[in-house]
């Protein structure tokens, strides 16, 4: 039985500041699947993530992205989020003066309003967030600090996962969520993702290294190089990359 794809990327071409970065990407992710996208630096991994989220700097010049059968191209970033798309950023930005908890509550209620669900009040939100904090093993003081201000690399990434589990997206794109993490933080992030997995929720995990994949069990692994997916396979592909490095690709061409 084949289910409809959650996201279907077809021959996607993307330009950044007039330079073509993605040169025809094809990728289909079905509900419940976890796809890893690996590749050397500069291959277009982050461009792919930011294009899905709708950053205006990333201009689609060819091809399509369909999400639940609908063309994404004209959707604002906030609409994409409200429809269930989430990106964990490689470099989460600081929002000076805006407390993490206020930000998260504003975001959750924006999404709930869009879905015509009742907004969460401060009390209920507090209870909810306490539960979610446990998933990423952060203490409560953390949510009263301004978003990402003075956070360590690991805290920033755990904060991204905290947002994911709070906002409950259907498609999560994790852009190098493993970079800059020590082994403990890496395990916490991986556990957060694994707990969050279910047959409806899908993931695109973008990474340079396979170490995160040791904990995540991808269904598919794709290798991105120079704006194209050059090879796809199962888990064994990431093992091969780990052993032989990206130069193996060159030799294979």
């Amino acid at each position: 039985m084949t289910s409809t794809p959650l996201i279907d990327v077809h021959n996607l071409h993307v330009e950044v500041e007039g330079k073509e970065i993605l040169k025809g990407i094809n990728l289909t992710v079905k509900p419940g699947e976890l796809h890893a996208v690996m590749g050397p630096n500069g291959s277009g991994k982050s461009t792919f993530a930011n294009t899905i989220s709708g950053h205006e700097k990333y201009r689609i010049t060819g091809g399509t992205i369909h999400y639940r059968g609908q063309d994404l191209a004209e959707w604002s970033p906030e609409r994409r989020a409200c429809e269930g798309i989430f990106q964990s950023f490689q470099y989460p930005v600081v929002i000076p003066g805006v407390n993490n908890i206020y930000f998260l509550k504003t975001a959750l209620n924006a999404i709930r309003r869009y879905r015509e669900e009742e907004e969460v009040d401060a009390m209920d939100f507090m209870q909810l967030i306490r539960e979610k904090l446990k998933t990423v093993k952060l203490d409560e003081s953390f949510i009263h600090r301004p978003v990402n201000e003075g956070f360590s690399g690991g805290e920033k990434k755990r904060n991204e996962i905290l947002q994911m589990v709070t906002l409950e997206p259907t498609l999560s794109v994790l852009d190098e969520t493993d970079s800059g993490l020590d082994i403990d933080a890496l395990k916490i992030v991986a556990e957060g993702v694994n707990q969050y997995r279910n047959p409806e929720r899908s993931f695109v995990v973008i990474t340079h290294y396979q170490r995160l994949l040791n904990y995540l069990e991808p269904d598919y692994v794709h290798v991105l190089k120079d704006g194209r997916i050059v090879t796809s396979g199962g888990r064994e592909l990431s093992d091969k990359l780990e052993l032989e490095g990206y130069t193996w690709l060159e030799n294979n061409e």
Partner: protein
């Protein structure tokens, strides 16, 4: 031109000689120097033409027929209300004020507390400082005396509400407040100018604050006049040994704002902070000048000043930190950050350090920029629409000052007021 502004002050025989003398000093200084002009370095960015073209009439005393906007009926404060400079007992609410506290109009103090005020009046701000202080001195009379004798701790904030609206067109209001804290006294004072009328007002206010040994003061000035008003304010503070003062300054309203704050850390170990935020839209001019003078050893000062400008608004921050030769072990930080929400908005920032001691820790920084597009995208990518994301970031920006306001109900109103005003400016 200058003559239009001067109505010869009436001679009040019953007022003490030193008052008459200050008035005539003001009168002479004003006749001699007139208003500052943009040729003077310190007034380079304050275009006064429109102010000078209007003939302002000193506010006449008369019937007051207005109510305090419900939003600003703060609970848990002592409230004293002045309407166009005149005390309104009906709009004040002063139950069970501590007996030792002296709170009266300055003109009452001329007779009732003459000896006391003679020691303080115009000691920190000379009548001849500039045309506005001179004009103010020439009209000396309106304003308040607030005196806290040694050890008095004011249990609730004192909300001094300035309303306009006696209905007279082009009203000039000259105010002089004296706030005196003796040893170990402590108070929170909210100096609040709220515009509600459609008439144009020119407010010229001097505030002299004297804080004796180990006294504590939080003084918060909120200027929220109507958009056609002119607001010229000069606040000077003297701090004795181990005193602590926090100054908050919020400028939102008025067509032209000139706000001078001079903090003199005269006593050893005194500490002071100035936290300011100003918001300009349309063609508002927000001209902010602060001086912090470290005149004694072991003083601490912190200054954080933030500006938000949109449309064709213009802002000035001129901040001087001065450290005298014997003010060793001074610890001072100054930061000015400005946010421009439109390409047509302009900001001139001029932070200055003048250090004459060698064992000090002083830092300053200034930056002016647009909202961070990546931060906006980050918020949008979490489902928050662009307009709300902008408001959230602006609240965050202003919040670094407003979060510390010593009155939480006022704080919430300031946040919503600022975002409302900027939304009107179509950001």
């Amino acid at each position: 031109m200058t003559a239009d502004f001067l109505t010869e002050p009436a001679i009040h025989q019953e007022h003490p000689d030193f008052i008459q003398k200050l008035r005539s000093q003001g009168l002479h200084a004003f006749k001699k120097y007139g208003f500052p002009t943009s040729r003077q370095e310190d007034w380079r960015f304050t275009p006064l033409e429109t102010l000078l073209e209007t003939q302002f009439i000193p506010s006449a005393s008369g019937a007051i027929d207005l109510d305090i906007p419900e939003d600003f009926l703060l609970s848990d404060v002592y409230r004293i209300t002045l309407v166009d400079g005149e005390l309104s007992p009906e709009l004040s609410d002063l139950p069970e004020l501590p007996e030792q506290l002296v709170l009266c109009t300055l003109s009452d103090a001329f007779t009732d507390h003459s000896e006391l005020i003679q020691k303080y009046l115009h000691q920190l701000i000379s009548p001849a400082e500039n045309g506005f202080t001179a004009l103010n001195a020439a009209h000396l009379g309106a304003g308040l005396l607030i005196f806290l004798p040694a050890g008095l701790i004011l249990d609730k904030p004192l909300h001094i509400l300035h309303l306009d609206g006696k209905g007279q067109e082009n009203t000039a209001v000259h105010l002089h407040h004296l706030l005196i804290l003796e040893d170990n006294a402590s108070a929170t004072v909210l100096m609040h100018h709220l515009g509600t009328s459609s008439q144009v007002h020119f407010t010229n206010v001097l505030t002299e604050i004297s804080a004796a040994r180990e006294s504590r003061l939080s003084i918060c000035k909120i200027q929220d006049s109507t958009d056609a008003d002119y607001h010229i304010s000069h606040t000077a503070l003297h701090q004795a040994e181990d005193s602590e003062i926090q100054v908050f300054s919020v400028d939102i309203g008025a067509r032209i704002v000139r706000n001078d704050i001079r903090m003199h850390l005269n006593g050893k170990g005194s500490s002071g902070s100035i936290s300011g935020v100003f918001v300009g839209r349309d063609r508002q001019i927000m001209d902010q000048h602060t001086h912090i003078h470290h005149n004694s050893p072991n003083g601490t000062s912190r200054e954080l000043y933030k500006g938000i400008l949109t449309d064709h608004a213009r802002g000035v921050f001129n901040g001087l930190i001065y450290v005298a030769p014997d003010a060793q072990q001074t610890d001072s930080e100054q930061t000015n950050r400005n946010l421009l929400l439109a390409e047509t908005a302009r900001m001139n920032s001029n932070p200055q350090l003048e250090i004459h001691a060698d064992d000090v820790r002083c830092s300053h920084g200034s930056s002016t920029g647009q909202l961070d597009e990546d931060a906006l995208f980050y918020l949008q990518s979490r489902g928050i629409d662009r307009k709300r994301a902008l408001a959230l970031m602006i609240e965050g920006f202003a919040g670094e000052v407003l979060n510390d306001l010593p009155c939480s109900s006022l704080q919430a109103k300031m946040f919503s007021h600022i975002t409302d005003r900027l939304a009107l400016a179509k950001i």
